[in-house]
């Protein structure tokens, strides 16, 4: 299981704009590189990143071979209600990772 580091403020005021950050451990092998044996190294990347706030999708990204290893996303959302912010990464060779964080909105 790949490691992921996420940063969600634990507390926020209703209507406040909060920053969410998510970093995941992944090689992001492009598929365009040649290995030491002269053969192409097969592509192995994350293809999708999805963030949901209490089940509702608030951010989605399609990833491509030009994105660096250990992809990092930072984005903003409005704190509407207390609950869970969940993160999901899907990729080549059946790669799947999930993380979540709770937020209290006052």
């Amino acid at each position: 299981m790949a490691r992921a580091l996420i940063n969600v403020p634990p507390k926020a005021k209703r209507g406040e704009i909060i920053e969410i950050k998510a970093l995941i451990q992944h090689e992001m092998e492009t598929g365009f590189r040649v290995g030491t044996n002269g053969n192409m190294i097969p592509r192995d990347i994350i293809t999708d990143f999805i963030c949901k706030y209490n089940g509702e999708e608030i951010f989605r990204a399609d990833l491509h071979p030009a994105i660096s290893a250990n992809p990092f996303f930072a984005f903003f959302t409005t704190a509407t209600e207390s609950g869970t912010i969940s993160f999901e990464w899907v990729g080549d060779n059946g790669f799947a990772a999930a993380e979540s964080a709770t937020i209290t909105v006052e």
Partner: protein, 258 residues
């Protein structure tokens, strides 16, 4: 006789010039100070710094039993947050059994071979980088305090000599860039002072964590000089001099560098 005296005088003058080129202590800057705001933000936030993945992996390895002895690092050293605090700030350190200084990677492998009876990790392997980053992280924010006893001096001098020696097809020395021309640009990138205060670093160009020896090899290749095999004594001497040169500066492990 007069001629000999003149040669000595010239030699002294050359030495004085070489010493004068060294950066005064108060003017030293970490590589961090040469970075843009985005790279700094990456290093400052542990949830944005990819180097933390290696630190977390290292923490897991620290507790994992290995080798014929079936011992983990923690079985001897206990809690790394106390036992390893400040350790990275004083490496490379003198190893009496080998009669020469060893760097942190080599120390980990010595422990692995002699205490755990396990196969040493290869240089730049994920495991060795992870343990080095984890141990280095315990010294973050502490001042670098290199050993300076008599046993270490000849190796420190060898490192200094290597730093000032012109080599390679470009006939460059380390000091020509990092003592004499820091702050200038090499292509589009600023030339830092070359302080080794954040290793192992997450280098954006590498897209992975790498050791100081990897960085040194990189510089040697750039000078079109022949690089040494990883783990070579020349690298350790140079590391020793670099740590002495960065004495008192704060450890930033795992640092982010462009």
């Amino acid at each position: 006789m007069k001629r000999a005296a003149a040669i000595i005088l010239i030699a002294l003058a050359v030495e004085a010039a070489a010493l004068a080129a060294e950066i005064p202590l108060a003017e030293r800057k970490s590589g961090y100070d040469f970075m843009g705001p985005d790279s700094r933000a990456m290093q400052d936030d542990d949830t944005a710094n990819p180097g933390m993945f290696w630190v977390l992996d290292g923490e897991a390895l620290w507790k994992r039993k290995a080798g014929v002895a079936d011992k983990s690092c923690a079985d001897c050293h206990g809690d790394a947050t106390t036992s390893m605090r400040g350790v990275a700030a004083r490496y490379p350190a003198f190893d009496a059994a080998r009669g020469r200084p060893v760097d942190l990677e080599q120390r980990i492998n010595i422990c692995r071979a002699e205490r755990q009876n396990a196969t040493p990790f290869s240089f730049e392997s994920k495991e060795l980088l992870a343990l080095t980053a984890f141990i280095g992280r315990q010294s973050r924010g502490m001042p670098i305090e290199p050993a300076s006893d008599d046993r270490i001096k000849p190796f420190l001098e060898a490192g200094r000599e290597l730093f000032n020696r012109r080599q390679g097809q470009l006939n460059l020395s380390c000091s020509q860039c990092h003592d004499d021309n820091w702050g200038q640009k090499l292509a589009g990138a600023p030339i830092p002072q070359g302080h080794a205060n954040g290793y192992p670093i997450y280098r954006l160009e590498w897209q992975t964590l790498g050791s100081l020896q990897r960085r040194l090899r990189n510089c040697l290749v750039g000078m079109r000089a022949e690089s040494y095999p990883l783990g070579a004594s020349e690298y350790v001497d140079l590391e020793l001099y670099l740590m002495w040169r960065a004495r008192g500066m704060k450890v930033e492990t795992p640092a982010v560098r462009p």
